[in-house]
Each structure stands twice: as structure tokens, then as C-alpha cells.
């Protein structure tokens, strides 16, 4: 059984096919890095796995069962668009809001729920950070606190949407390392979307590349190649490898770096693709 499988899945947003007959299967317990150009459908793919976006064809299965909304087996960390930046509320309270967030009626936090929250915070090393208000934390610290939320209920599949966005290299490294540890400790499969391969390349088991409506999942050195990426980007792509670093070039432009800079200027990535998903 795979943690997440797409079987010739087509997803249509408006008149655009985000995915057309895409197939891949994420194994249980493996750490998959998900890459692709802006608008390639990384966020949409996660939302489809969560049952929030309907499929126009094919089948999505999560741990053997059809994708449904509110599946407790999935831990999800949405892209952080800085909504928490000014919030004066402790990280602990924010995490706790997710722990009992589905319960209507009078629902006090019992001891087991409190222990679970503390455990999740410990798992990402954010127990002390969570005492401070979430708006005062740096981007990297905030990501760690929010990551702990995805661990509540000990899911077997984690979908992490751009956890590295707008983090400096040191914080990127720590978030990736924490994700790797969580993957090993919980035996949970992780799909970790990112703009750049390099921060992930040494820790992921396989890479999932999206583009031109298709998805290719495989070992880094089989997927990140000129021919495969040229097909996904619909342009002539050359892959240059210098020791541990990978450069994906279209002509003389480094495509991943360009995508990243683009985000920095215009704020949140995938705004259009996400907006469509909401409509």
C-alpha cells in the first residue's frame, strides 16, 4: 500500500488542466521533495489529496482509501502567507486551536490533549518558542511551531506546502532537518514542496517534479535531468551539477532561482493557483 497514490488523475481549475492523467505513488515512510515551476500545481495537488479540490478524472488514494476531506491520517501545513505576523497569541494557543478545532459544543482541553500538544512541540524542538507570541517569532521559528500542528494525531502522511518560503539558508536547513527527523521518528511519509532543490537534495528519498500537466516521481538523478525537465518545463533545460549543488538552467537563466526571486518581489507564491482553488 502506498501513502499517497495518483492514478491517471486529471485536475481542472477553470479551463486549465493543472494535471492531466498524472500517475505516481508515494511509498509509506518516504520523504519526497515536490518541485515545479510557479503555477505547476503543487498547492493544488496537496489540496486534491486533502479532498478540497475535485478531480476531473482518475483516482487519488491516501493510505489505500479514497481522498476525503477531514482525513485524520493526513497532517497538513498550508503555505504561510504571513497572516500570523502581527498576532499576539502564544504559539501554544495557536497549536491548541488545531487540536480541538473540529469539536462543536463545550470542549475543554483535557490532559491527554495537552500532552499531545506538548509532545508535538517537543518533536520539532519548539516547546520554549511556543511560550512566546507567534507574531514575535522569526519566520523560521514560526514555521517550526506551525509544523508541530501537522503532527497532532500522529498522521502517517504529511503534506507540507512550501515550509522554506522566505527563510534564510540557516533556517531552511533546520526546518529540513526537523522534517527528516519527524519522517524517521513517526514513520510518516512526507511530501515537502519547495522552490529549490538544493536545500532538500541531501535529505529526501525521492523527488516529485510537476510541470506541463504531468508529474514525475523518482530518484533525484533520474528525474532532475535535461530531457525530463525539458518536457516538464516545455523549454530546453540543462542540468548542471557542481559537487553537491544542482543548477537547473533554461538557456543562461537559472529557473529555480528566478522563481524564488519572483516570489520575494510579489509576495506569496502560487497566489493565482491557490486563488483558483478557492473559487
Amino acid at each position: 500500500m502506498s501513502a499517497l497514490s495518483f492514478d491517471s488523475v486529471t485536475i481542472r481549475l477553470g479551463r486549465r488542466d493543472i494535471l492531466s492523467a498524472a500517475s505516481f505513488a508515494v511509498r509509506e515512510g518516504e520523504f519526497v521533495g515536490m518541485l515545479g515551476a510557479n503555477g505547476a500545481g503543487k498547492t493544488t495537488l496537496m489540496r486534491a489529496a486533502l479532498g478540497l479540490v475535485p478531480v476531473a478524472g482518475g483516482a487519488i488514494r491516501v493510505l489505500g482509501a479514497p481522498a476525503t476531506r477531514g482525513n485524520p491520517a493526513i497532517g497538513y501545513m498550508p503555505q504561510n502567507r504571513g497572516a500570523m505576523a502581527g498576532l499576539r497569541l502564544t504559539g501554544w494557543d495557536v497549536v491548541a486551536s488545531a487540536a480541538v478545532g473540529r469539536r462543536f459544543g463545550f470542549a475543554p482541553l483535557d490532559r491527554a490533549a495537552r500532552r499531545e500538544i506538548d509532545w508535538a512541540l517537543d518533536e520539532v524542538g519548539a516547546r520554549d518558542l511556543a511560550r512566546r507570541s507567534i507574531g514575535e517569532l522569526s519566520g523560521g521559528e514560526r514555521q517550526r511551531v506551525l509544523l508541530s500542528q501537522a503532527l497532532l494525531g500522529r498522521p502517517r502522511l504529511l503534506l507540507l506546502d512550501e515550509p522554506l518560503i522566505s527563510l534564510d539558508p540557516a533556517h531552511q536547513k533546520s526546518v529540513v532537518e526537523i522534517a527528516r527527523r519527524v519522517c524517521d521518528d513517526l514513520k510518516a511519509a512526507i511530501v515537502f514542496s519547495a522552490h529549490e532543490l538544493n536545500p532538500l537534495v541531501n535529505v529526501i528519498d525521492r523527488v516529485l517534479y510537476l510541470g506541463a500537466g504531468s508529474a514525475v516521481l523518482g530518484p533525484v538523478d533520474e528525474v532532475v535531468t535535461g530531457p525530463v525537465l525539458s518536457r516538464l518545463y516545455g523549454a530546453e533545460i540543462e542540468v548542471v551539477r557542481v559537487r553537491d549543488r544542482w543548477f537547473v538552467m533554461a538557456g543562461d537563466v537559472e529557473v529555480e532561482r528566478e522563481a524564488h526571486r519572483h516570489d520575494g518581489r510579489h509576495g506569496p507564491a502560487h497566489e493565482h493557483d491557490h486563488g483558483d482553488a478557492h473559487a
Binding site: 498550508p78 500570523m84 502564544t90 494557543d93 486551536s97 488545531a98 480541538v100 473540529r102
Partner: protein
């Protein structure tokens, strides 16, 4: 002061409305929906003047109109940015209609002042009963949607993925806001609803980082401001609504200054 029947009624009425406003207002600020609350109060003005014109109780008109408008806003969806213009237009339209109703209603001047700026000393015993009952129902409803509401307010996308019905929660919350607005309008008037619904909540957020403590502090501050305002009005013969706004402003700016000072040290 408490020897007078109307003063006792005023204390109970303003106390009930203030506690409700403090609690509901905290969520309003947390969700960034203070503008929606403000607009609802203007819709309430239309409802109240309309009710007067047709010989009904202004409170019934207030609650009826704000409820319909609140639920409508909630069902509109979660995308706030695009709604600001729509809400603003609705607000002006409502005030305009209210003006028209007043134009046809002959005893306009005193009623208009009472609706716009409140008349807590004019609350009679049947109105008091209605205020208490509405507040009890609203607080009960708020408790029952409390957890999903906090979750959906802080992290709507995650809440949606976990199966929280966002639209229902949003509409239910704005219905509660609508009732709260109607209650506050009885005390401080439709133009000054902000003073009880937003002031204490924003001050409480400056004073504590904890969620439940913040809600309790917001309710306590609102209550203190309402009763303080009544007491000062009794002793000075100045309008109650003025004193409540003055205390609310003082507390809010004081709390902001205290936080800044704390952060600087």
C-alpha cells in the same frame, strides 16, 4: 444611585451588553472583522427607524435587520479583502434608508439621537428582559461554536482541510455579532458600538498573549467601562455614552502604551 429603579435597570442592561460585547468583540478583532461589525450597526439603524415608522419596537427592528445582514455577510464567504467595498456600500445604503424612514417619522429628533448615541437610562423592564434573554442565547451559541471558530479564525485553510465547515461557522458567528451589535446599540447607540465591541477586546490583546485569559479580560474591561461610565454620568450629569467612550479610549491607549513599554524594556 442604586435607589432608583431606572439606574438599577441601566446597570443590569449595560452589564449584560458589555460582557457579551467583550467576549464577542474579542473574536471580531481576532478575525479582523471589525469593519463588518461597524457596518452591521448601521444596518441596525435602518431596522430600528423602520420599526419606529411602522409602530414596532425599535429593538425588534434592530435585531431583525442586523441578523439578516449578519448571516448574509457570513454566507458571502471567507474572502474578506473583496468584501470591504461591498460592506461599505451596504453601510451607506443602510444609513440612507434609515434617514428616509426618520424623515417620514414625525417625532424624529429625540428618537434619532437615542438610536445614534444610545439611551441606557431609557431601557424599560420589558426591553431589559429581551436584552438578557438575547445575551444568554448568544453566549450559549458562541460557546458551542467556540473551538471551530478559533481554529477557523487563526488558520482557515488548515481548518477547512480538517473538515471544519467554514461557511457555517462564519455565518453563525456573524449572527451572534448581529445580536451583540443590537444590544450595544441600546446602550451606546449605533454610532458608538465600536467602543464596547472593539476597544476592550483590542486592549485585552495588548495585555495578554493567552487566548482564554484575553477573552476574560476583554469581558471584564467592557463591564468596568460600562459601569464606570454609568457611575460617572450619574455624578456629572454628562451623557453615559460619552463617559463609556472616554473610558474605552483611555483603557485602549493605556494598554497599548503599557505593551510598548513592556517590549522596550
Amino acid at each position: 444611585m442604586l435607589d432608583y429603579d431606572f439606574m438599577r435597570t441601566a446597570f443590569v442592561a449595560s452589564g449584560v451588553a458589555a460582557v457579551l460585547a467583550g467576549v464577542v468583540g474579542y473574536f471580531l478583532v481576532l478575525r479582523g472583522q471589525t469593519f463588518a461589525g461597524h457596518a452591521l450597526s448601521h444596518v441596525g439603524f435602518t431596522g430600528a427607524t423602520g420599526a419606529l415608522l411602522f409602530g414596532l419596537s425599535p429593538l425588534a427592528g434592530l435585531v431583525g435587520f442586523t441578523l439578516v445582514a449578519g448571516i448574509g455577510m457570513g454566507l458571502f464567504g471567507e474572502k474578506l479583502a473583496e468584501r470591504d467595498v461591498a460592506i461599505g456600500m451596504m453601510l451607506s445604503l443602510a444609513l440612507g434608508l434609515g434617514l428616509l424612514f426618520l424623515h417620514f417619522y414625525t417625532a424624529a429628533a429625540t428618537q434619532a439621537a437615542a438610536l445614534l448615541f444610545g439611551n441606557v437610562l431609557g431601557v424599560d423592564s420589558s426591553a431589559l428582559l429581551a436584552l438578557v434573554a438575547l445575551a444568554a442565547v448568544s453566549l450559549g451559541a458562541l460557546v458551542s461554536i467556540g473551538r471551530p471558530l478559533v481554529f477557523a479564525s487563526l488558520q482557515p485553510e488548515l481548518a477547512e482541510a480538517r473538515g471544519v465547515p467554514l461557511r457555517f461557522v462564519s455565518a453563525a458567528f456573524l449572527a451572534i455579532v448581529a445580536v451583540t451589535v443590537a444590544e450595544c446599540a441600546q446602550i451606546v447607540g449605533v454610532l458608538l458600538v465600536f467602543t464596547l465591541m472593539v476597544g476592550p477586546a483590542a486592549a485585552a490583546m495588548n495585555l495578554t498573549r493567552r487566548l482564554w485569559l484575553g477573552i476574560a479580560a476583554s469581558a471584564a474591561l467592557a463591564l468596568a467601562e460600562a459601569w464606570g461610565g454609568l457611575t460617572l454620568a450619574y455624578n456629572t450629569d454628562w451623557p453615559t455614552s460619552f463617559w463609556i467612550t472616554a473610558l474605552s479610549g483611555l483603557v485602549f491607549f493605556g494598554a497599548t502604551a503599557a505593551r510598548r513599554l513592556g517590549e522596550a524594556m
